[in-house]
Symmetry: C2
């Protein structure tokens, strides 16, 4: 049966927010849910396609929105990072919006609220780490080319969700030193974590819109994309069983 989409408008601080749910309408019982947190540009079709890929794997995907309804940018926008930067400057607000997005996912009738995970890309990778850091009730999070700087608030420890960090080692936005700091933070926080580092891969390695990028340290990497997706599948299968 074809995967279906449903637009989802939900509340939260600074909302309303608008995301897209993807699910298999014939699956019957409630299924594990996976939150997808977008990159700097906000909720967009690429995220909806990830939600559909997750739905095809037997999950319910929610391509979430943490900027607010209608607040999106493109690479061509005068300031593509404007909404992201507002949230980077107020990590407690970002946290609360993330928790609101997770609550919206859990509230859907197709979703088993006891079995959820979150994945995120770039800024969204930071977001899913913040979900884990802030005590969200999740079984696993996966960061793809995420950013690792810690939030202003203290971690809720032990950090409960399993954590997979898929990282391009040539990423100038998160250099090896910041990856090392993250491993120390997660170890100290008692998290069950893995870091998969991809040599020569840069920021945005899953992002096909960056194919042919000539900006050093940025671009699509087919190997890292496929490896990280496979590792994510393996973790979700274990954690959401």
């Amino acid at each position: 049966m074809a995967i279906q989409r449903r637009e989802l408008v939900y509340d939260g601080p600074g909302g309303p927010f608008e995301g897209v749910l993807a699910f298999d309408p014939d699956a019957g019982e409630a299924r594990p849910g996976v939150l997808i947190v977008p990159n700097v540009l906000g909720q967009k079709e690429a995220d909806n396609l990830v939600a559909e890929r997750l739905a095809a794997l037997g999950y319910v995907g929610l391509a979430a929105d943490v900027f607010g309804q209608g607040k999106r940018t493109t690479r061509e926008s005068p300031d593509p990072a404007r909404y992201m930067n507002q949230l980077n400057a107020d990590r407690p607000l970002l946290r609360d919006r993330l928790h609101a997005s997770l609550a919206a996912l859990k509230a859907q009738p197709e979703v088993d609220p006891a079995r959820t995970a979150a994945i995120g890309y770039c800024f969204g990778g930071k977001c899913v780490l913040d979900l884990a850091r802030s005590g969200a009730d999740l079984r696993a999070v996966v960061s793809f080319h995420g950013i690792f700087d810690r939030p202003s608030y203290a971690n809720v420890t032990p950090i409960a969700p399993r954590i997979l960090v898929c990282h391009g080692w040539a990423d100038p936005l998160a250099p090896p030193e910041s990856a090392a700091a993250l491993t120390a933070e997660l170890t100290e926080g008692g998290a069950r974590w893995q870091l998969h580092a991809y040599g020569h891969a840069g920021h945005g390695f899953t992002d096909r819109s960056m194919q042919g990028s000539t900006r050093p340290g940025f671009g699509y990497d087919a190997d890292a994309d496929a490896s990280s997706w496979a590792a994510m599948q393996r973790l979700l299968a274990e954690a959401l069983a």
Copy 2:
């Protein structure tokens, strides 16, 4: 059909050497070969079992010997590291023995010599990195809780085999700084590499004989064991196709 074993005595500097080949006798055509390089204790039944697991996946496995026929130790030996230490002090000799072991694998009629890989455990992890560093004709190497210090000779660059380093982040024999140095070395050498770091896992995380170890930083870790084996399978399937 049941996997078969064949004892293999082969030549090389300081030899003869004695390994065990494992293969499916009904597979017909020549198959990709995988060299297995043992840990500090040398060639033993645990390595033969790995060779059999690889044979069940469609490869020909050779549990190799780099110490020399009859030269093995156990954890209870007065000096379990005696043969390993001799080779650590003479990396060119180790290299030549590794190349001799690879040549022995390639010479077997069951093996397609154009499609080979090498995996290794602990000291054997260092060995497979040395194979890659020294220009061995291999498609991929996988190090499990290996040691990362560079050999005395210069690397043959670009480093051709794909490299997967599966590493316990709490391993005191290869601390994070040495992993970082390895990533820099491999990047500089042009290798196509991945490093999978497992939080809280220590040295020997694949070694069931270390279950219940109370030595900090050493021991079996079921998650890291299963994750690393899955990642290895994925790489071998790609590189040896």
